[in-house]
């Protein structure tokens, strides 16, 4: 077998080791995502909500705060498809207008909470030691209160108002994110490629942001969508309890709160905001599930 005793003929390798065709990551993602019907429907629903939030006041059939005392507590009809409330305001228009406030507060609260949670979690997971203990024990303290109770406490201290609701919701988002981020960081930190990065001489910040952080993004995206659902619920609950938006401002939670007095006579006032909140939370959760499966390389 003399001819097989090859010295390394380097040029040869390229010809014989055929590589699979490069795949576009975005295309693959879209293809995988569109396979998940519930997630796609949820995604479309959320897009519609966002459109409503932007265009709401322009496409609403009535002015959201326009009282009409000739049409109080009307059930759904051709003129008012989802009926009117106790001041004769059109429920559909108010819900449309409220989308902006409700979504904006939930999203901004989650974004702030997530950002802080990621930062704390990364630091705790990467450096370990007393920093880790300090951050995690603070999180434990926050964890020991039920979410909504914590939010109420914060709003009670800061006073009612939309900004304070956002702060409250953001605060209770932080610990759960910090904890998830910490465990994700630790698991990526242990991986071989991080040790490789250290061995070629990467500085800590580079290891943290280039090698560890992208590895945790997957779980973060998923958690983010799930937390948005929770945040909408929490913001609505706070508004319902009277801590949030002003009574005159259209907000889903506030509408629910004010409508409960008329539960017997005009259930539609509560019904429609209730359904809308339920569907929105569900959509975000299902989208989260779908994203998790799509981003999992083991799922086809």
């Amino acid at each position: 077998m003399a001819e097989m005793k090859s010295t390394v003929n380097i040029q040869n390798f390229e010809n014989v080791e055929a590589l699979p065709k490069p795949k576009s990551k975005v295309k693959e993602f879209v293809k995988k995502f569109t396979k998940r019907k519930t997630a796609v429907i949820s995604f479309i629903f959320i897009v519609l909500l966002l459109l409503a939030a932007i265009l709401g006041p322009y496409i609403a059939p009535y002015d959201a705060s326009q009282a009409d005392y000739s049409n109080l507590l009307q059930g759904p009809s051709a003129a008012h498809i989802w009926g009117t409330d106790e001041f004769g305001r059109d429920v559909f228009s108010r819900l449309l207008a409220g989308t902006r406030l409700s979504l904006a507060s939930a999203l901004s609260a989650t974004i702030v909470g997530t950002a802080l949670g990621i930062l704390f979690g990364l630091i705790a997971g990467f450096y370990g030691g007393w920093i880790d203990s300090l951050i995690m024990r603070c999180c434990d303290i926050l964890f020991s209160f039920p979410d909504i109770l914590l939010a109420i406490a914060i709003v009670a201290i800061l006073g009612p108002g939309m900004i304070n609701v956002i702060i409250a919701v953001a605060v209770f988002t932080v610990p759960s994110f910090a904890r998830i981020m910490r465990s994700a960081t630790i698991s990526v930190k242990e991986s071989l490629y991080v040790e490789v990065a250290r061995s070629i001489g990467c500085k800590n910040w580079r290891i943290l942001w280039v090698h560890i952080f992208p590895g945790t993004i997957q779980s973060m995206i998923v958690n983010f969508t799930m937390r948005v659902g929770t945040a909408i619920l929490a913001a609505s609950s706070l508004s319902f309890l009277g801590f949030g938006a002003n009574v005159t401002e259209p907000d889903w939670g506030a509408m629910l709160s004010q409508g409960r007095n008329y539960l017997n006579t005009a259930p539609h006032i509560v019904l429609f905001p209730g359904i809308l909140i339920f569907l929105t939370v569900l959509a975000f959760n299902l989208l989260g599930d779908g994203l998790r499966d799509t981003l999992d390389p083991k799922m086809s």
């Binding site: 077998m1 097989m4 010295t7 014989v16 055929a18 086809s300």
Partner: protein, 333 residues
Amino acid sequence: MAEKLLDVKNLRTEFKRDKSWVTAVNDVSFHINKGEILGLVGESGCGKSVTSLSVMRLLPIGTSRVSEGEVFFNGEDILKVDKKKMRKIRGHKISMIFQEPMSSLNPCMRISKQITEAILLHNDLSKDEAYKRAFNVLKSVGIPDPDMTLNSYPHQLSGGMCQRVMIAMAMSCEPDLLIADEPTTALDVTIQAQILALMEKIKEERNTGILLITHDLGVVAEMCSRVIVMYAGRIVEEAPVRELFEAPMHPYTQGLIESVPKLGSDMTSLPSIPGSVPDLSVMPKGCKFAPRCKYAMDICREKEPELVAVPGQEHRCSRCVLHKLEEKEVSKL
């Protein structure tokens, strides 16, 4: 002629991938006699483990299927028997040991419980009798203090000990056939030597047939009497071990044997097979090894060769004899 213990005929196993079925194992036929160690060699992804799991009917239902073939065990086609009977055969008549001894044992259960469970499942014995039997089996696989081992949890034992326990468990019902899927790959050489010696001893004492699946040609050379070489889901060569190593017939077998560094050979550079194993779903047309084969001719890329008996050596077969033939004979084909 020795009695055939296991006789696999034209086995074909397929896996579901993106709604279509890809063939992982194709047209595999072999047999094992009593008291014989048959080696099944090949690189990762060549279908050697799938073959053994197909025989044991342990492949996941729904995502895989055995679409063709028969597996006769003691004269009975075990692909056709019902599930209940198959459970009786599995563990009782045919046992299996796996590559990762640590993860094959339940970490939350004492060794005694795990071994006696297997014994009680297949035998009508009292708990004490089962324990006694477990004690004896452990002793027979060379565990110095069976009582202590029986009362430990898997994490308290070393890898070699765990593999001994696995073998003891497999042997506890005195099976006729032992399927060992890479039994020593996760172990160190000195421990590997112990385990191999143990398997040899079991074969000698109980006349058990052993199917030894491995990628290590050294292990094959030392343990087996006959060898099957698999590539890309097909058997490419079957031969008695000495003849295989002395005069490998298939170009893949040749390349494989040459690319193993040999102790004491004083080599500084290794012959290697260029390229890599083809993906299951994009198999080349014709001979599956042709793209990496240095003897490949036009006909190899067109038509897949049959597994034929080697001329003059009826007890061995190869999927490729072309390069051994004269040019003239090739042109006749």
